[in-house]
C-alpha cells in the first residue's frame, strides 16, 4: 500500500514537472512571437484593430530566413473570394511578385488589410503585390472579401490588390505564421527575400535588403533582374531577358573582367575621358 502511494506521488510529481515545462515553453514561444509583432490568437473581446502606419519610422530590420531551395517556386493558383479561379504567374515573367500571406484572424494582419484596401502601396522595384490566404476550407470567402474591400464588387477580380485563396501555396512556401511576406524574382524564378513584418515600412525594408544583398541575381534563364528597375522600365524591350547567345557572350565578358580584377562598380568601367596614350587615332 505504501509503495503504491509513493509510486503515485512520484508519478504525479513527474507529470506536474512536465506540465510546468510545457507551459513555460509555450509562454516563451508566444513571448518571442509577440516581440516579433505576431499575434497568433484571433480577436479577443474589447480589442481593436491596429492600423499600419505606412509612413511610420521603420523598425529594426528582421533577418531574412534561409530557404533550402529558393528556386522551388510555384504560381499562385487558387480561388478569389468571389469564387473565380486564378493562376498568377510568379516565375518566367518580367515582373517581381511580393506575396503577402495574411489571415482574417490575426490582429496584425488587420492593419495590412486596411492598408491594401485603397490600392497597392508602393513596392520597391515596382513588384506586383498579391495577397494569399488559406483556402475556403480554412477561411470564409465572404470575410476575406470584406477585409479586402471586394464585397459588392463584380466577379471579374475587380479590386486594387489581387487576393488568392490557396492553402496549397501556403503549404508550398512553408508559411510559419501570419502576416508573412515572400518576395519572388520573376526573371530569376526564385525567392529572394522573405520574413515577418508588423508594418508596411518593415516590408519595404525586407525587400530593399533582398535587393541590396544581391539576391535578385537572375537564374540561368535570364540575365536581367526586373527587381532592380521600375516596372515601366522593365517593360522596355531593352531590359527583357536576352537570348542564350547574348547570355553566353555576357558571361564571357564578365569572366574576363573578373579575371582582370575589374568588378561591378569599378571606376575603370566608367572612364570620364579617353586616355589611351596611343597615337591619337
Amino acid at each position: 500500500m505504501t509503495a503504491l502511494v509513493v509510486g503515485l506521488t512520484v508519478a504525479v510529481a513527474l507529470i506536474g514537472v512536465l506540465v510546468a515545462g510545457l507551459l513555460r515553453a509555450n509562454a516563451e514561444v508566444i513571448r518571442a512571437l509577440y516581440q516579433m509583432g505576431v499575434e497568433l490568437g484571433p480577436d479577443t473581446p474589447g480589442s481593436r484593430p491596429t492600423a499600419v502606419a505606412l509612413t511610420s519610422p521603420a523598425a529594426a530590420p528582421r533577418p531574412t530566413p534561409g530557404r533550402p531551395d529558393a528556386g522551388n517556386v510555384i504560381d499562385l493558383v487558387g480561388l478569389t473570394p468571389h469564387g473565380d479561379a486564378v493562376s498568377l504567374a510568379v516565375s518566367d515573367v518580367r515582373h517581381d511578385t511580393l506575396v503577402a500571406f495574411l489571415t482574417s484572424g490575426c490582429q496584425t494582419c488587420r492593419g495590412f488589410w486596411e492598408a491594401f484596401r485603397d490600392g497597392p502601396p508602393d513596392v520597391p522595384g515596382g513588384a506586383r503585390l498579391v495577397v494569399v490566404t488559406r483556402g475556403s476550407e480554412a477561411e470564409s470567402p465572404g470575410t476575406i472579401a470584406g477585409l479586402a474591400g471586394l464585397a459588392g464588387l463584380g466577379g471579374s477580380g475587380d479590386g486594387a490588390v489581387p487576393v488568392v485563396m490557396s492553402s496549397e501555396a501556403w503549404e508550398h512556401y512553408d508559411i510559419p505564421y501570419a502576416p508573412y511576406f515572400v518576395y519572388i524574382s520573376g526573371v530569376a524564378g526564385r525567392v529572394v527575400g522573405e520574413g515577418v513584418a508588423a508594418g508596411w515600412e518593415e516590408v519595404r525594408t525586407l525587400v530593399a535588403n533582398a535587393v541590396a544583398d544581391g539576391t535578385t541575381t537572375p537564374g540561368p534563364s535570364a540575365t536581367s533582374s526586373s527587381s532592380e528597375v521600375p516596372t515601366a522600365v522593365a517593360n522596355d524591350p531593352a531590359f527583357r531577358p536576352r537570348s542564350r547567345a547574348d547570355q553566353v557572350r555576357d558571361n564571357a565578358v564578365d569572366l574576363a573582367l573578373q579575371e582582370a580584377g575589374i568588378r561591378p562598380g569599378d571606376p575603370r568601367l566608367h572612364p570620364t575621358s579617353i586616355d589611351g596614350g596611343g597615337d591619337g587615332r
Partner: protein
Amino acid sequence: MTTSRAPVAAMGLAVTPPSGWEVAIYRRSPEAGAQTYPVLHAATVALPPSRGDYGSGVVELLGSDDVFVALLEFGPQAAKSPLFSSLRAVPGITPDAYRPRQLQRTIQGQAGVQRFFTTGGRAFCLYSVIGALTKRVVLTAQANAILGSIRVQAGVEAGT
C-alpha cells in the same frame, strides 16, 4: 527548380497554363434580369484586376513578345446558331489568322483573331491578341499551347 504546372478549373472550364502564363476564370455578377456566363482570360503579362471581357486593360500592357487569349461563353441558344456551330471544338489558330483589323481597338503593331465554336453543347467566342504582328509565327505557337490545354466540360449549366 519550378514544380509542375497546376491546372486551373472552374465553371466547367479547365486550363493548364504554360510557364509564364496567367489565367483567370470568372463570371461577372449579373444585373437584375440578366444572365452572365463564364469568361476565361490567359496572358503572358500580369492580368490587371480591372479588365474588360475582351481584354481591355490587358492588351495595352502587351509587349511585342506577349499574347492574350480570351474565351467567352454565350448562352445555350447560341450553340445552335450557324455562327457558333460550324466549329465543334476549341480551335487552333494559324499565324495568318491574326489581323490588325480584327482588334476590338486598334493598337499599333498588334493583331487579333476571333473564332466562334461549340463544344459539349456550350457556345464560345475565342478572341486572341498578339503583341506584334511581325512575330505572329512564334506568338501563334504560344497561343496554341494554351488553347490546347483548355478542356470544356459538357453539360454544365454555367449561366448565372
